[in-house]
Amino acid sequence: MSQEVLDTLNILGKMGWAIALHGGAGDIPINIPAERREPREASLRRILQIGVSALNAKSSALDVVELVVRELENCPHFNAGKGSVLTSNGTVEMEACIMDGSSKQCGAVSGVTTVVNPISLARRIMEKTPHIYLAFDGAEAFAREQGLEIVDKNHFITPENIERLKQAKEANRVQQDYTQPIKLENQNVPDGDSKLGTVGCVAVDNLGNLAAATSTGGLVNKMVGRIGDTPIIGAGTYANKFCAVSATGRGEAIIRETVARDVAAVMEYKGLGLKEAAAYIVDQVAPKGTTGLVAVSPTGEVTMPFNTTGMFRACATEDGFMEVAIW
C-alpha cells in the first residue's frame, strides 16, 4: 500500500488492525452437544485474545497469523496439528500454508508427520529456501535441518480421531472433516467428533500489512498422499495488498474454484469491497455446502461468510468489535 493511500486512510480514521480466525466450516448440527461446542468456543475466544494482544503490541500481521495458527494447531479440538484427522492408514499427514500480502511471499507444506507446528515450517520454507512448497520426506528433512520442534507421530493422534476413522471405514467412505457423523443403519452412533475443522487466521496490522495462514489434517479416511486446498496458494490461502483470505470446507471444490484468489480478484478487477467480494464468491460462485472463509482488508474490515450450515469462527477489530460464532 502506498504511503499516500496510508496517509489518506489515516486522515479518514479508517485504519486499524483486524483479525479473524476459523476452525472449519461444514454441516454443524444446531443441536451439537454442549460438551463438544463449548470447548471449541472457549478455544476460539482464548486464541482470538492472543492475536488481539499481539496486534496491540504492534506485532506484524505475518507474525500474528503464524502465532494464532500455532495455537490452533496445538489445540486438540481442531483438525490441525494435534487433533488432526487420520488417513486411511491411521496416520496423520498435515498441511499448512502462509502468505504475506505486501510481498506476496509464501510458504507451504504437505505430508508432514512429526512437526509440531506445520505453519511454522511453512514460514521457514518461505523465508529460508528458494522454493515455496515442500512436501513429505523432503519437508520433514528440512524441518529437522531447521531445528523445528519434532515429536513422535503419535503425539497428533487423539482417541476421538481413531474412533472417527473407524466409523468412516465402517461406512466405507471418505468422510469430509466437517460432515454429519456417519449414521450406520439401525445403530445409534454417538455424535462423533465430526465437527473438527481446518484452522486459519487472517490479520491486518496498524500499518495495513495483510497476512493469511491455514493449517489442516485434511479429511478423515483420506488416501495417503492426498493434498487438499489448504496448502495451495489461491485455493485455501491467499494474501495480497487487497485482502487476506483463509478458506475452509470441501477441499476439492475450493481448489477448483480458486476461492481465496478469487475474492482478491473480484476486489481488484470488479472494484468490489471486501464484504461484497467475499459474499459474491461464497454465495454466487462456490457451490452451496462447500465453502467458508475469513478475510480482512487493509482498512481493517473483516468478513466471515460461509455457505455451509456453520463455521467455527471469531474476529475482532481495533475499535472494540469482537465476535465468536458457529452458525
Binding site: 528458494p130 512448497y133 488416501m223 495417503v224 498422499g225 492426498r226 487438499g228 476439492e252 481448489i255 484468489r261
Partner: protein, 326 residues
C-alpha cells in the same frame, strides 16, 4: 461448433546459445506433437483426451524436462509432477513426487477420474499408480546422461549464485545479449532446465482443457513442489479458456498465473490475447515465465517475458506455427 485449436509448449527461458541441432530436435518434437493432437482433434477426440495424449508424447520423449529426461533433485533422483484440468465442470487431477510412473499426466487423469480427491503425492500417489495398473519404470529410466551432467554444473553454479534464498538481485534483464549471464531460478540459463511441457486444447464443441508435466527444477530439494501440479498456478481450464504455464515456478505460484488469464477474461472482460499479454506484463512481478492458452471460441495465444519459449500452435483453419524465440 467452433474451430478447434491447440497449443503445446516445452518450457520458457531458453539458453540463447542452445546448439542449433538441439533447437531443431525440439522443433521437430513440437511439430510431431502438434500433428498428433491435430489428428486426434480431426477424429473428434475431446479436448481432455487430446491434452493427455499430447503430454504423454512429450513425457515419453527425453528432449524436454518431463517424464523421461526429467531434471534431477539435489540427490540425483527424479521427482515428477503433473496436472490436468477439464474446463467442463472444472474437474481436475494432479500428482507430485512421482518416481516410477512412465506418464505422470495419465496418473493425474486417473486421480481426477477414479479417486475421491484431486491431488495425490509421493508414496500415496505411487500406491495409487500401482492400484490403477499404470505403466511404470525404474527411476533410472527417467535419468539421462545429459541431466546428470547438468546436475553437476548446477551444483557448481549453486555454490556461487544460490544463497539458499530467493535471489533479490541477479535477474539480469532477459535477452540482453549472450555476454550477459542470464539467470532463471537463480541458475545460469545454460544449466537451468526450464523445459516443463504443457498442452492446451479447445475442441470443436468449444470444450477447453489443459495439462502440464514437469521434472521440476534442476538440483531442487527433494520434496519441492512447483507450479505445474497446482491448479490455478501452472494449469487451469474453465468454460472460457485453457491455460498451461512454465518458467520460474515460484513466481507462477505467487501470481496464480493460469487462473489469472481466466480471471481477467471473466472479471475484466479481456479477450484471450489481451488477457495473456496483461498477465505476462502485470502479474509476474520480477519473475520470468511463459504460457499458452486457448479460448472456447477457438482462439489460441501465447506469451512470455524471457528469452524464448519452446512452443507450437495450430488452429482448424490451417494456421500452424512452431517457434522458440520472439
Amino acid at each position: 461448433m467452433v474451430g478447434w485449436a491447440i497449443a503445446v509448449h516445452g518450457g520458457a527461458g531458453v539458453d540463447p546459445n542452445l546448439p542449433t541441432d538441439r533447437q531443431e530436435q525440439a522443433k521437430q518434437l513440437l511439430t510431431r506433437c502438434l500433428n498428433l493432437g491435430i489428428s486426434a482433434l480431426q477424429s473428434s477426440a475431446s479436448a481432455i483426451d487430446v491434452v493427455e495424449l499430447v503430454v504423454r508424447e512429450l513425457e515419453t520423449d527425453p528432449i524436454f524436462n518431463s517424464g523421461r529426461g526429467s531434471a534431477l533433485t539435489e540427490k540425483g533422483t527424479v521427482e515428477m509432477e503433473a496436472s490436468i484440468m477439464d474446463g467442463v465442470g472444472r474437474r481436475c487431477g494432479a500428482v507430485s513426487g512421482i518416481t516410477t510412473v512412465k506418464n505422470p499426466v495419465s496418473l493425474a487423469r486417473l486421480v481426477m477420474d477414479k479417486s475421491p480427491h484431486s491431488y495425490l503425492a509421493f508414496s500415496g500417489a505411487e500406491d495409487f499408480a500401482q492400484q490403477m495398473g499404470v505403466e511404470r519404470e525404474e527411476n533410472d529410466y527417467f535419468i539421462t546422461e545429459d541431466n546428470k551432467g547438468m546436475l553437476k554444473l548446477a551444483k557448481e553454479a549453486n555454490s556461487i549464485v544460490f544463497d539458499y534464498r530467493i535471489p533479490t538481485t541477479g535477474y539480469e534483464s532477459c535477452g540482453s545479449g549472450v555476454d550477459t549471464p542470464i539467470h532463471m531460478n537463480g541458475l545460469p540459463i545454460s544449466v537451468y532446465a526450464p523445459e516443463t511441457v504443457g498442452c492446451v486444447v479447445v475442441d470443436s464443441q468449444g470444450r477447453c482443457a489443459a495439462a502440464t508435466s514437469t521434472g521440476g527444477l534442476m538440483n531442487k530439494k527433494t520434496g519441492r513442489i512447483g507450479d505445474s501440479p497446482l491448479i490455478g498456478a501452472g494449469t487451469y481450464a474453465c468454460d472460457a479458456c485453457g491455460v498451461s504455464c512454465t518458467g520460474e515456478g515460484e513466481a507462477i505460484i505467487r501470481g496464480t498465473l493460469a487462473r489469472e488469464v481466466a480471471v481477467v477474461m471473466e472479471y475484466k472482460g479481456l479477450g484471450l490475447q489481451e488477457a495473456v499479454d496483461f498477465v505476462i506484463k502485470e502479474r509476474l512481478d520480477e519473475g520470468q515465465a511463459g504460457l499458452i492458452a486457448v479460448s472456447k471460441t477457438g482462439e489460441v495465444a501465447y506469451g512470455f517475458n524471457c528469452v524464448g519459449m519452446f512452443r507450437g500452435c495450430a488452429t482448424e483453419d490451417g494456421f500452424m506455427e512452431v517457434g522458440i524465440w520472439e
